[in-house]
Amino acid sequence: MGYKAKFRVWRGEGGEGRLEDFTVEVNEGEVVLDVIHRLQATQAPDLAVRWNCKAGKCGSCSMEINGKPRLGCMTRMSTFDEDETITVTPLRTFPVIKDLVTDVSFNYRKAREIPSFTPPADVKPGEYRMQQVDVERSQEFRKCIECFLCQNVCHVIRDHEENKPNFAGPRYLMRIAELDMHPYDVADRKELAQEVHGLGYCNITKCCTEVCPEHIKITDNALIPMKERVVDKKYDPLVWLGSKIFKRQR
């Protein structure tokens, strides 16, 4: 059965904008993105919203629904009360282009700053031999759909714009961890993670994990293991001594 839902949607360009109220029809089985599209079709034809697959796999329709960073296409209307006002705003951490569309180029800049996969010089493409157990840890991180919800929710940059130059955010610290755990990657990424990409800023409050639509355990499986690897490299005298005495390799 359909009903009329109360929506408050952020409208505006750049920093200037306001929440506008709408009453819009909702049908059984719909998600928030469906309702936003109906709003566009019936009441606000110039409402800007980024979307693509409508299946939770492209990461385009990231937005904040009742203050929570979520994918519009994966947020069922049945999770709200019918008399509830649903507030939809753009991602808070990034500049607004128009309405619900934000400029996420910060993330692409951070991605470019990470040195790519660096295999040993004596191993040629086609000669890599890896067991499944060696790669399955990093395969979890490959599930990322680049929705940037983790980047958006991380308070290090969400609440402190000034930290953006020094902090890559959970998505790219996870990328560094993925490469550092790779059996054939020889680049030293620990120093880089700590000194350039700001791993030390992370205080492991796990919001990145909470909002991840792919349920990647970003904190437990990427950020904390990476912090421990940095401790090996920078803060643990016993590991340093062991590596000197026994010439220990990973």
Binding site: W10, R11, G12, E13, G14, G15, E16, G17, D46, E64, N66, G67, K68, E84, T89, R92, T93, F94, P95, V96, I97, T102, D103, M130, Q131, V133, D134, V153, H155, V156, D159, H160, E161, N163, D180, M181, H182, D185, G200, Y201, C202, N203, I204, T205, K206, C207, V211, D220, I224, P225, K227, E228, R229, V230, V231, D232, K234, Y235, D236, R250
Partner: protein, 261 residues
């Protein structure tokens, strides 16, 4: 509506939403419970350190074990030792509480818990923190969180000693309720300790070639299973150690004196 160009300053701004959060759920509940739970533990711990009734043969209160001072009763001393001599006159619990305390203080789970509930950094996801500046764990004193693995080594020793205490109680008084409280407490403490993220790293997390170290990989998978429930074990062991400690003290004070105590 006025159009702005890509280069305009307005275009480079975030949405100027003036409220701290638009969340409508009870986001404050989890940090409030965490604050209350940790505060309760701190208050109890402070009282327990200075309470002198910590031994009721064969039970020793976990907050005072291992008892290493000469003031410890004969049966309470760990392996009969009193290495600190007569000069040490403070409560014996002070000698060792820093080790499990430091382990929990620097634990990755507890860090999340107290950063959120005590320091409000942030209080909950997508709720603005009240601080004007944030440097995380990049400088003193929080950079010291990186010594967690050293506390882990000591916590293993303390955990094994608490297990030894439980086994001693089991041998001497197998039917006592206190025995089973100590056994359950020791089991939870070991599950919490060996599920630690540092332990996970030490077993094999630091390796990139699991296939070359099958035994360490096996350990890593076992620790990973415990680690997945680290939060639950953190809370369960926090309360179990408080309950076990209080129980022993109540037996020692004569408050609990039923036959199977």
């Amino acid at each position: 509506m006025t159009q702005t160009t890509a280069e305009s300053a307005t275009r480079k701004q975030r949405a100027q939403i003036r409220v701290r959060t638009l969340r409508t759920d009870r986001w404050w509940l989890a940090p409030a419970f965490t604050f209350a739970g940790l505060l309760l533990f701190l208050i109890y711990g402070f009282w327990a350190i200075f309470d002198k009734t910590y031994f009721a043969d064969p039970y020793i209160a976990p907050f005072t074990s291992p008892c290493l001072a000469t003031s410890c009763p004969e049966g309470a001393r760990f392996l009969g030792l009193a290495p600190f001599g007569d000069w040490y006159t403070l409560p014996p619990g002070i000698l060792i509480l820093g080790l499990p305390g430091g382990f929990r203080l620097t634990c990755y789970y507890y860090r999340k818990a107290y950063y959120r509930s005590f320091w409000l950094s942030p209080p909950a996801c997508a709720v603005a923190e009240p601080h004007g500046r944030y440097t995380g764990e990049t400088r003193l004193p929080l950079i010291l969180q990186n010594i967690h693995r050293y506390f882990f080594y000591f916590a293993v020793i303390v955990g094994l000693i608490l297990t030894y205490d439980a086994v001693l109680a089991l041998v001497h008084k197998p039917a006592g309720l206190g025995t089973w409280i100590l056994v359950v407490n020791a089991a939870l403490i070991l599950c919490y300790t060996f599920g630690c993220h540092s332990c996970r790293h030490i077993t094999a997390g630091r390796l990139n070639h699991f296939s070359k170290h099958p035994l360490r990989y096996r350990w890593w998978t076992l620790v990973s299973r415990l680690n997945a429930r680290h939060q639950q074990f953190a809370w369960a062991s926090l309360f179990s150690v408080m309950i076990a400690d209080l129980y022993v003290r109540l037996v020692a004070k004569g408050v609990i004196n039923f036959p199977f105590a």
